[in-house]
Amino acid sequence: MTTTAKPPPTERPTATPRAKARPGDRIFSRSAQVAGILILIILAGVAAFLVREALPTFSADPSEIDGGEGFFSYVWPLVFGTLAAAVIALIVATPLALGIALFISHYAPRRLAQGLGYIVDLLAAIPSVVFGLWGIQWLAPQVQPAWSWLADNLGFIPLFTGPASATGRTMMTAGLVLAVMILPIITAISREVFLQTPTLHEEAALALGATRWEMIRVAVIPFGRPGIISGIMLGLGRALGETMAVAMVLSTGGFTWSMVTSGNNTIAAEIALDFPESSGLKTNTLIAAGLVLFAITLAVNMFARWIVSRRSEFSGAN
């Protein structure tokens, strides 16, 4: 087996017959390759820029950094604020988005479903400045009483320590605005995967005597799980990076555990608010904060990939 099949060494090119390279194939494969590499170059370029510009912050004397106690104590309240706003947004938006997606894909009459789908997609077309205006002018006064109630009745929980902000421009309100902003993306992706559930699996569940909800639980949601997670992660990505709405709605300030008073800030909003008037080391500090945000988003995405791949054996792809 090892000796007989050995081809003469001189005839190597003919040993593997290759398909004739056609110009169309070559152009397509090259342009796909270029596009793929371009993504990596851009990503690397952004990362390199962030690292280079952020470096002075790390070597500077801690007393020169904003706050006077070094970069870490400057950035961690911002990281906390960023994560807190995003988590509030996800907690509110995820169940709502999955409910809307299921209603559109499996409950609503076909014509209503289509109209509703368009309306949800329209939400994504609203500029974030407009969401910001809406948050300040309309939402904040509306929800302020609810935050006062939380502060009065659940004030013993650190997250709801009073006194509640009288304007309603708090982390909770910012989280709600973010929730509305990420709602369309989670809804759209979940709806698409729910619609793709194979009829075969739905019928398998129904034929076993499943009610509509049981059919959804047994066939639709497990099938759509990777898609749901991707949708949530895309929403989370937007919530983490959203600048304008938070900068407008939130009455920023120093760190506080309470989500119902003014205070806290997110990385993105901090950069947007402070960058125009910054110079020297302050600029480097803000860019370093941007680097931290970049790292957080990267980690979130890798975590999501890992969740999706963890049970790929059971995904139905095989």
Partner: protein, 259 residues
Amino acid sequence: MSKRIDVGDLNVYYGSFLAVEGVSMAIEARSVTAFIGPSGCGKSTFIRTLNRMHEVIPGARVEGKVMLDGEDLYGANVDPVTVRRQVGMVFQRPNPFPTMSIRDNVLAGMKLNSNRLRKSEADDIVERSLKGANLWNEVKDRLDKPGSGLSGGQQQRLCIARAIAVQPEVLLMDEPCSALDPISTLAIEDLIGELKQNYTIVIVTHNMQQAARVSDRTAFFNIAGTGKPGKLIEMDDTTKIFTNPSVKATEDYVSGRFG
């Protein structure tokens, strides 16, 4: 277990389109009844009305009666969900739940019916159902592996195990072997022979040798032309249908002269 079905003058509509017209038949308990006929003649549509699975398609409805041991499946207070728990179904293409293990697939129906199952009870059901589907020896060491990793024939037997786990009265099979190779087909046919001791079985098939091999009674459906409703032409003992049918169209079909 196992009940008889009596169908009385059944019409099936998709919206305003009459798909199957005027079917009356008696399906005996603990026997295998085969439906044969050319494509589009309404066999699959009709078999789905026996457990109300046709209602999944928007606009589908029936007129007439389907009695399961004297109980009307289309009575005013009858929930299709309860009907389907009594009348199980196996589909053309094997459809185990891809996100579930072999064990969970078998238990899927049980988990819908009764929310709490003790582990020992569940183990018994899994073993009994898989043995009933002649699959136990092949999968007993990998019950926690995904059902979608099995071969097509094994997947189809897993689907049968899933259907019999809830101990239905009737088992409907809509072309269960059409996506399988001959060896897997033989395994399913053997299984049908064993299952009929406990269940009423109705099978739709395009394979006339299969109908002749597995069934006790055979019903021949035909269609007069495109857009016309399908009709039950003749129903009789399988040996009679394949040797000496009373209608000319049946003889033409089973002898391969058309269809």
